[in-house]
Symmetry: C2
Subunit: 503 residues, 2 copies
C-alpha cells in the first residue's frame, strides 16, 4: 500500500467516528430523554478522545509527510485531501494537550458565567472569564501561527484561508451601501402587516408547510428527516442521513418556515456532497461560509422572493385557510421582508443582519489585537450600534451579552455568517448568467415551483466540488470572481428599494 492509501485507510476511521458523533449529537438535541445527558456526555467524550488519538498518531504524521512528498499535484482530489489532512493534523498537534484541557475547562466555566451575566443583565459577572478567554484565544492563535494578524489564525479555524486582509474590503463595501439604505427605509412609510397577528398559526400547519416546501425545493426525505428542536440546526451523519430541525411559534410562522428553508439549504448541500469521496476530507462541505451561502440562498434569495411567494401562496392557503384569507402574494412578500434596525442579531432582517456581524467583527479585531480593553467593551459595543444602526441598547443583555459565541471561545466565527450572505448572492448571480436568457429568468421557474435548474447548478458548481478547493478558490471557480460584496449589495438595494419605494 502507498503512504497515501494507508493514510486514507486511517482517515476512514476518523471519518466514521465523525459520522457516529453526528448522529449522537442530533439525538441529543432532538430525541434524548433528559436524564440521559451525563452518560451521553461520556459517550461523546470517548468518541472525541478516540478520534483525537487517531488524528495525532505520529504514524499519521509520518504517512502524511511521505504522501506529500510523493504527490505530483496532478490529481486535485488527492491534493485536496492532503491539504485538508495536513491542516487538521497541524491544528491538532500544535495544541499541547495541557492547553486543550485548559481551554475545555475554561469553556465550561465561562459558558456558566455568561449565562448568569446575561440573566442578571450584569457584564461584571462575565468580565473576568471573558478576559481570560481572550488571553486563551490569543495563545491559541500563537500556537497555530499566522502571517500578518493574530486574528487571522482564528478566522482560519472556521473558513480555511480567511484573513483580515480579505474581510476588510468586503465589510467596507457592505457598510458603505447598507448604512444609507437602512436610513432611507427608516424615513419611509410603515409596512402594515396586522393580518399576521389576527389568528394563531397552528403547529400542524407549520409542520406540513415546512415539510412541503423543503421537499419542493429538493430535499430528499428518503435520505433525511425533519424534526423539532429548541435550537434549529442541520445535522445527522452523512449525505444519506441528513437531519434538519425547526421550531414552531403559534404567534408568527416566519421563524418556522424560513428556518425550515434555511436548514433545508444546509441539508441540500450535505445531500449533494460528492459520493465518490465518502470518507475523504475532500468530500466534505467547504467550511462555514459556503455552507451558510446555501442556507441563505434558499431562505432569502429564493424563499423571500416575490416569485416564491406567488408560487407558495396556494400552499399557505391550504394549510392556513383562515389566517391567509384575503392575503395576496405581495402582502406575504412585504411581511417577510420588513426592515427595521433592532438590537438583537438573531431577530434581525436581511438588510441589517450584516451590520450586526460587522460590529462583532470590528470588536473582535480590536480585542484580539489588544486595542480595546475589556472594561471598555460594553460601551464600545453600544457606540457601534448607535453609529451603524442608529439605536443604542438600554442594557447589557440586549447589548454585548446577547451572543453565546465568545463564552465558547468562538472568536472568528461571526464573519462566516456574512460571507454566507455574500457568497449566496454571488453564486446566484453566476447561476443566472448560466441559466437565464432573453425572456426567461429564474423567477419564472420559481413562480411555477421549478427549482431543479438552480439546485442542479449548485450541485455541479458547489456541492459536488466538496472541499477539493479552498472556499475562496471554490467561489472563484464557480463565479469567475474572488469573493466580492457587489452582488449582495445590488440584490438588497433592488429588493428593499422596491418594497420601500426608495426608487
Amino acid at each position: 500500500m502507498s503512504a497515501y492509501d494507508s493514510l486514507m485507510a486511517k482517515q476512514k476511521d476518523i471519518e466514521t467516528i465523525g459520522q457516529i458523533s453526528g448522529l449522537l449529537g442530533w439525538d441529543q438535541e432532538v430525541m434524548m430523554p433528559p436524564k440521559a445527558a451525563p452518560l451521553r456526555a461520556e459517550q461523546m467524550a470517548w468518541l472525541s478522545k478516540t478520534r483525537h488519538r487517531l488524528m495525532i498518531d505520529p504514524e499519521m504524521g509520518e504517512l502524511l509527510a511521505q504522501a506529500e512528498n510523493e504527490d505530483d499535484g496532478k490529481d486535485s482530489v488527492r491534493s485536496g485531501n492532503l491539504r485538508l489532512m495536513r491542516d487538521a493534523y497541524d491544528k491538532a498537534t500544535k495544541q499541547p494537550s495541557e492547553f486543550v484541557v485548559r481551554m475545555a475547562r475554561h469553556k465550561s466555566k465561562s459558558i456558566i458565567s455568561w449565562t448568569e451575566a446575561r440573566e442578571k443583565n450584569d457584564f461584571s459577572i462575565f468580565r473576568d472569564d471573558l478576559a481570560t478567554m481572550i488571553d486563551l484565544v490569543r495563545e491559541l492563535a500563537d500556537l497555530l501561527g499566522y502571517e500578518n494578524e493574530k486574528y487571522d489564525a482564528l478566522l482560519d479555524l472556521y473558513e480555511s484561508g480567511l484573513t483580515v486582509a480579505r474581510l476588510d474590503p468586503l465589510f467596507a463595501g457592505l457598510r458603505d451601501s447598507s448604512v444609507p439604505l437602512i436610513q432611507s427605509v427608516n424615513q419611509s412609510e410603515d409596512n402594515s402587516n396586522d393580518w399576521v397577528y389576527l389568528h394563531e398559526w397552528s403547529v400542524e400547519g407549520q409542520q406540513k408547510l415546512s415539510h412541503a416546501l423543503s421537499e419542493a425545493v429538493g430535499f430528499d426525505f428518503q435520505a433525511g428527516r425533519r424534526d423539532e428542536s429548541t435550537h434549529p440546526f442541520c445535522g445527522g451523519s452523512n449525505p444519506d442521513d441528513v437531519r434538519w430541525t425547526t421550531r414552531y411559534d403559534v404567534k408568527e410562522p416566519w421563524g418556522a418556515i424560513f428556518g425550515a428553508l434555511h436548514e433545508t439549504g444546509h441539508a441540500l448541500y450535505e445531500q449533494g456532497r460528492p459520493r465518490n469521496l465518502d470518507f475523504e476530507p475532500s468530500g466534505h462541505a467547504n467550511g462555514l461560509g459556503v455552507h451558510e451561502s446555501q442556507s441563505r440562498l434558499w431562505e432569502n434569495q429564493v424563499g423571500r422572493s416575490l416569485a416564491f411567494c406567488e408560487w407558495s401562496l396556494p400552499m399557505w392557503k391550504e394549510y392556513f385557510p383562515k389566517n391567509m384569507e384575503g392575503v395576496t402574494a405581495e402582502m406575504l412578500w412585504r411581511a417577510i421582508n420588513q426592515v427595521e434596525p433592532s438590537l438583537i442579531r438573531v431577530e434581525s432582517d436581511e438588510a441589517t443582519y450584516n451590520l450586526h456581524i460587522m460590529i462583532r467583527y470590528e470588536v473582535e479585531k480590536l480585542l484580539i489585537s489588544g486595542e480595546l480593553e475589556i472594561d471598555d467593551l460594553p460601551d464600545a459595543w453600544d457606540d457601534m450600534y448607535e453609529r451603524y444602526l442608529g439605536i443604542r441598547s438600554p442594557d447589557r443583555k440586549q447589548g454585548v451579552l446577547q451572543d453565546i459565541h465568545w463564552s465558547m471561545g468562538a472568536f472568528g466565527y461571526f464573519p462566516t455568517y456574512t460571507l454566507g450572505n455574500l457568497y449566496s448572492a454571488q453564486l446566484l448571480q453566476a447561476a443566472r448568467n448560466d441559466l437565464e436568457s432573453e425572456g426567461h429568468t429564474l423567477e419564472d421557474d420559481w413562480r411555477k415551483g421549478i427549482f431543479t435548474p438552480l439546485l442542479d447548478w449548485m450541485r455541479t458548481n458547489v456541492h459536488h466540488r466538496g472541499s477539493i478547493l479552498t472556499p475562496a478558490d471554490l467561489i472563484e471557480e464557480a463565479t469567475g470572481d474572488a469573493p466580492i460584496p457587489e452582488p449582495f449589495v445590488d440584490y438588497l438595494k433592488d429588493k428593499i428599494g422596491t418594497i420601500y419605494g426608495l426608487a
Copy 2:
C-alpha cells in the same frame, strides 16, 4: 493500579462502545431514513470491530488472569465481573477470526434464502443453507466447548449456564400439564368477543393508552422514550436512556397495548439496573431468560389479570369511548385471555406459547445431535404440532419456515422465551410470599393502580442484582428455589380454568 482496576478501565471503553451501538441500533429501527442503511452498516461494523479488538487484546487476557489470581472471592461484584469478563474473553478468543467471518457471511446469505423460501412457501430454497448453518453452529459448539451435550454450548450463549439437563425437566413439567389443559379448553364453549371487532381502534387512542399504562406501572419517561417500529423492541443506551417501541393495528388493540406492557417490562428492568455498577459487566441485566421474565410479568401476570382489567377499564373507556361502550372488566379480561391452538408462535396465547417453544427445543436438540436429518425436518415439525397442539400446518410457511432465528444461526435461543414465563411466575409467587398477608393480595393493589410494591420487590431482588450471580443462582436467591415449572403451571391452570369453567 491493580490488575483488576486496569481491567475495569479497559472494560469501560468496551461498555461505552456497547452503549453507542445500542443507540445506533435503536435509531436504525425507529428513525433512520431508508437510504442511510449502507453507511449505517459501516458505522456499526466499525464499532463492532473496535469493540472486538479491545475484547481480544492479549493484554486483556493477561490482566484478566492476573486479576483472577488476586481475587479472594470476598467481593461478589468483583467476582461477578471477573466471571463475566472471563466468559466474554473466552467466547471471543475461542473463535478464530476466519470462523467469525465465515459465520457472518453465511448468516447474510441464509437470511436471504430463508426470506425467499418463506415467501415462496418452499423449504428446498432454504434447505442447503440451513444444513450449512447447522454444521456451523456445531462447529461453534466445538470451539466453545461443553461438558455433556454439544447443544449445551449453544444454550449457554443466551443464558449463562443453561444446559439440556436443566431444561428437560422444566419442559417435561410444562408439557404434562399444558397438553391436557389445552385439550379441555378445546372441548369447552366458545368465548364470544365480537365486541372487539365492531369499531376500528384509533392509533391515537392506542398511543395514549400505551403511554399511560407504561407510566402507571413505573416506566420513567425522563429516562426513556416510547416510539413506533415495525418489530417492537426495547433498546437504547443505558439505564438513563431506555427506549421501547410498539406498533398499532386499528383492527385489534391487543398487540399494541400488551406489546407496550411487554416492552415496558424489559424497560423497567433496564431502568432498574444497579447504578453503582455503570460500565461494569455485573451491572447488566442477567441474560435473556431473566429479561423475558420481567416483560412477561407485566404483560401477562399483571397486565392480563382481572384486577388490572378492573383498574384500567376507565382508561380504556376514556381513550376508546365508542369501542368500549357496554364492555365490562370481565369481558375485557376474557377477550385478552382467549386460548386457541394455532400454527404461528408469535400469534399464540399464554397457554399454548410454551408448547411452540418446546417443539423448537426438541427439534434443535435432534438437529444438533444429528439424530434428525435436514430432509426429515419439515415433517417432523408438523408431526410434533399434531402431537402436542392437535393441529397440522397445511404448508411450510406456517410450519418450519415461520421463524427467522435459524437463518441467523440462533440455535439455543428459543428456550429463553419459556424460561421467561417460568421465572416470571416463580418470581411473582415469591413476591406474593413477601408482600401479601391475610386479607391483602397483590391484586388488591393492582385493582387500585398501585404497582410500586411489586416493582420495588423486583427492583430489590432482580433489577438491582444485575448479573452479579448467574441467572439460575439469581432465581434461587430471589425465590428460594432453583428454576421450577410449578408456579407457572399453577398460575395457568388457575386462570384458564376459571375463564373456561374447567373446575
